[in-house]
C-alpha cells in the first residue's frame, strides 16, 4: 500500500486510541469525585492532567481542567483535538474505510464538536464522556468487522497498540514512578489504586485474577504483564508484534529485520520480566524504557516503510 495511506491509517488509529483513553480518564475521574473528599478529589487531578500530557492551566479546578482536557482546541491532546485529527486522517484515506467506519467517526466528531462545558456540567457531567466512550467502542467494533484484515487494517492495529502501550506505561509511571513514591503528599492512596484500575477498565478483570484485594504490586503486575487482559502493556506489545508481521509484505527481509528486532526485544522484556524484580525501585526506569522502546519502534516503522529515503530502496 502507499506509504502516505499507511501513515494516515496509523495516525487515525493512534488518535482514536488516545481519544478513548482521554474519554475514559475524564469519565472515571468525574464519577469518582463523588466518593472523595473535596480535597482529595481536587488534589488527584494532577495525575489525570499529567497522564494526558496536558499542561496545568490555572487552578486545580475540575471545571477548568475538564474543559482543557476535553474541548480545548489549543490543546493538541484534548478529546476534541484527537477526534478532529483522527477524522482528518480518515478522510484522506476515505476509500480505504467502509461507509460504517466513516459515518461512525464523522457522527461522533460532529456530536462533540459543538459541546460546551456549560451544557454538560450541571447534570451528571460524566455522561457525555461515557457516551463518547461507547461510541468509540462501537467504532472499534465496526472497524474490526467491516474492514478486511489486510495491510491497511494492520496499520490501524499497529497505531492503536503502540499508543496504548505508551499510555499505560505513562499512567503506571504516575503511580509507581519516582514522583509518585518519593513525594509523600503525592503518593497514591487506596482510592487512587481503585481509580487506576478503572482508568484501564481493569477493575473486574483484576478482581477475577487476584481477588478484590487491592495491592499495588499486583496492580502493576496485572497492567504490565498480564498476557490476556487487553489493556496490559504485554498484551499491547504482543499485538504490535503480530501487526508488524502483516505490514509491508513486499519489503526486503533486511528492511523488516530492523523493525522486528526492536519489537521482539520489547516483547521479550515484557514476556520475561517479573514484577518482583521491579518492586525494589527499578520500576520507574523499566517504564521509561518501555516508552522509549515504543518510540524507537515507531521511528523504525517510519524509517523502513513510510518516510524512507527513496535512494535507500533503489
Amino acid at each position: 500500500m502507499l506509504s502516505r495511506v499507511a501513515d494516515s491509517m496509523y495516525w487515525m488509529s493512534r488518535y482514536l486510541e488516545r481519544a478513548e483513553h482521554t474519554a475514559r480518564l475524564i469519565a472515571v475521574k468525574l464519577e469518582s469525585m463523588i466518593e472523595q473528599s473535596r480535597e482529595d478529589a481536587d488534589s488527584s487531578w494532577w495525575r489525570v492532567v499529567a497522564a494526558l500530557a496536558a499542561e496545568e492551566v490555572g487552578p486545580r479546578d475540575a471545571f477548568a481542567i475538564t474543559q482543557n482536557l476535553a474541548f480545548e482546541p489549543a490543546n493538541p491532546s484534548s478529546l476534541l483535538s484527537c477526534l478532529r485529527n483522527a477524522r482528518d486522517n480518515a478522510r484522506q484515506v476515505r476509500e480505504q474505510l467502509s461507509l460504517e467506519v466513516w459515518e461512525n467517526l464523522n457522527r461522533l466528531y460532529l456530536k462533540l464538536q459543538p459541546m460546551t462545558m456549560e451544557a454538560i456540567w450541571v447534570h451528571h457531567p460524566a455522561r457525555l464522556f461515557r457516551e463518547a466512550l461507547q461510541d468509540l467502542h462501537t467504532l472499534g467494533g465496526v472497524t474490526y468487522s467491516t474492514l478486511s484484515h489486510g495491510e491497511a487494517w494492520y496499520f490501524l492495529e499497529l497505531g492503536r497498540h503502540i499508543e496504548r502501550a505508551q499510555l499505560i506505561s505513562r499512567l503506571l509511571d504516575l503511580h509507581f514512578g519516582r514522583s509518585a513514591t518519593e513525594v509523600v503528599a503525592e503518593a497514591p492512596k487506596y482510592f487512587d489504586w481503585l481509580v487506576l484500575l478503572k482508568f484501564c477498565s481493569a477493575f473486574e478483570p483484576y478482581c477475577k485474577a487476584y481477588t478484590a484485594a487491592i495491592r499495588p504490586e499486583k496492580i502493576a503486575e496485572f497492567l504490565l504483564f498480564d498476557a490476556e487482559f487487553p489493556h496490559s502493556v504485554r498484551f499491547s506489545v504482543e499485538r504490535v508484534c503480530a501487526a508488524l508481521l502483516h505490514v509491508a509484505p513486499g519489503a526486503p527481509p533486511g528492511r523488516r529485520a530492523a523493525v522486528e528486532r526492536l519489537a521482539g526485544r520489547l516483547k521479550a522484556s515484557v514476556d520475561f520480566t517479573q514484577i518482583e524484580e521491579l518492586m525494589s525501585g527499578s520500576i520507574a526506569p523499566f517504564l521509561g524504557d518501555i516508552s522509549r522502546q515504543c518510540e524507537q519502534i515507531h521511528d523504525a516503522v517510519y524509517a523502513s516503510y513510510i518516510a524512507y529515503g527513496a535512494e535507500t530502496v533503489l
Binding site: 502507499l2 502516505r4 477524522r87 495491510e151 505490514v247 509491508a248 513486499g250 527513496a310 533503489l314
Partner: protein, 498 residues
Amino acid sequence: MQHEAALNARAGHSAAAGPGREGPYKNYVLGAAYDEMFAANGTVRAHYAQLDSRLTTLAPEELHRRQQACELSFLHQGITFTVYSDKQATERIIPTDLLPRIVTAAEWGRIEAGLKQRILALNHFLRDIYSDGRVLKDGVIPRSMIYGSRHYRREMRGLQVPHGAYVNVCGTDLVRREDGQFVVLEDNLRVPSGVSYMLANRDVVRRAFPNLFRAMGVRPIEQYPRELLAALRALTPFQHDASIAVLTPGVFNSAYFEHAFLARQMGVELVEGRDLLVNDNVVYARTTSGLKRIDVIYRRIDDDFIDPLAFRDESSLGVPGLFNAYRAGSVVIANALGTGVADDKAIYAYVPRLIRYYLSEEPILDSVETFLCREPKSLSHVLANLDRLVVKAVGESGGYGMLVGPHASKAEREAFAEKLKADPENYIAQPTIQLSTAPTFVDGGVEARHVDLRPFVLHGEETVIVPGALTRVALKRGSLVVNSSQGGGSKDTWVLSN
C-alpha cells in the same frame, strides 16, 4: 461535471396541452422541444410503450419508496461528493431520477458511428498539430487559433504517443434538437467525468425496474471499467503486467469519489502527486514495501498542475519531472497532455471541417451551428441578432463571459456588443436550442424535463463506446441547466439491443 451551456427556451411557443392522460402524466406538458416519450400528437413512441404501461400500474408510494432506496444505495456505495467546510463534511449525492431515458438501437447506431468518426478525426488533428501541422499549412484552421489557445502545449511537439491516441477517454455532450436529431454540443477531452454516475444509475434503476429491464433488452454497460482497463493496458507493451495508477488531485476535488471508484473497479492504485517520484526518468510510487514502478497513469489532473517543473511551478499537486519521463517514453499518460486545444470552444466550430480534411467523409453527427466572431461576416450577423443567440467567450468556462441573448436586457446586450467589437476573436455565438425533454418523476407524478446525453468514448488501440451514457436532467421545470451544482440530476440511459 461542469456544463456551462445555459441554453434557454425560445420564448413565445405556447405550452401545448399535455398528453391528456390521467394518472401519472396529468402535469406532463409538451412544448416546442422534442419529447423523448411522446410524439407531438400525444401518442407514446413505440420504444417507450412498455415503460408507459409499467408506470400506469405503479402506485406513487411505490415509486417514492424506490427513489429513496436508490438514494440510500448511493450513499452506501460512497457515490457521493463531499462538501467540506471547517466544521462539517457533508456527503451529498447528485439526485438520480429513476425513470430511464431510452434510446433505440438505430439511434444509438448513428451516435456510435458519429462519435467514432469524431474521435478519429480529433486524434488525427492532435497528432498533426503536434507534428507537421499540415492542417495549418493547408489553411484549414488559422494558425492563431491553435497557437493562441491556452491549452496548446508546445512541449508536446514531436512527442510520440502510443497508437497516436492522444485522447483515450472522451465525454461528448449531445443534445437532441427540435427536429429529433442528435447534435454534438461539446467534446470533453481533458479530464471528463461522470462515468461513475452512469454506472451507479444503471445499478439502481435496474433494481427498481427489473422486469422491465429484462423485457426491453437493454444493452449492458457495467463492463466500462474493464474496457477502460483494457484501453489503458493497450497503451503499453507490458499489457497485462503493466502497473497502472489513477492520479487524483486529492480528496478536496469534487470528482474525487469517481477517481476512487474507478481505481477500485479496475483494481489499480489511486495515487496523488505526492505519492509519486521520478528517478532517472522512471516514475515510481512510494509504498510501504518500497518503490513501485508505474507504467501507465490515468490522470485526472489538468495539464497545468501535473508537473511543477514543466508547467505551473506553484502546483503542489503534480510530480516534478513527470513530463520528462513521459517524453522519454518510460511512462504513458492518458489522456495525453495538450488535448485541451481540441475541445476549445472555437475549435469546436471547425470539427466538421476536420472530419472532411482527415477522413474525407461527411460528418455523421451535426454540430450546433456556430458563428466565429473573428470572421467579419459572422461578427456582423451576431451583432445583428444578439437577442436570439447565446454568445460565449472562448477562453472561459463555468458560464463566465457569456450572454444569453433572449434572456438579457437591451442594456446588457448593448454592453456586450461593445465587448464583442473590442475583442471579436475571443467570442463565438450559437443559436439557442431546445434540449429534448424526457419523463421525470416530480412530486409523485411524471413530468417533462430537459435532458442531454453524455456517452463516453474509449480510444486506445481501438475505439470502444460502451452502449450507454450519462443523461443529465434539469430538474427544475423549464430549466435547461443540467449542471449538477445548479439543480441538475441524472438518469440511467437504456440503449436497446433491437
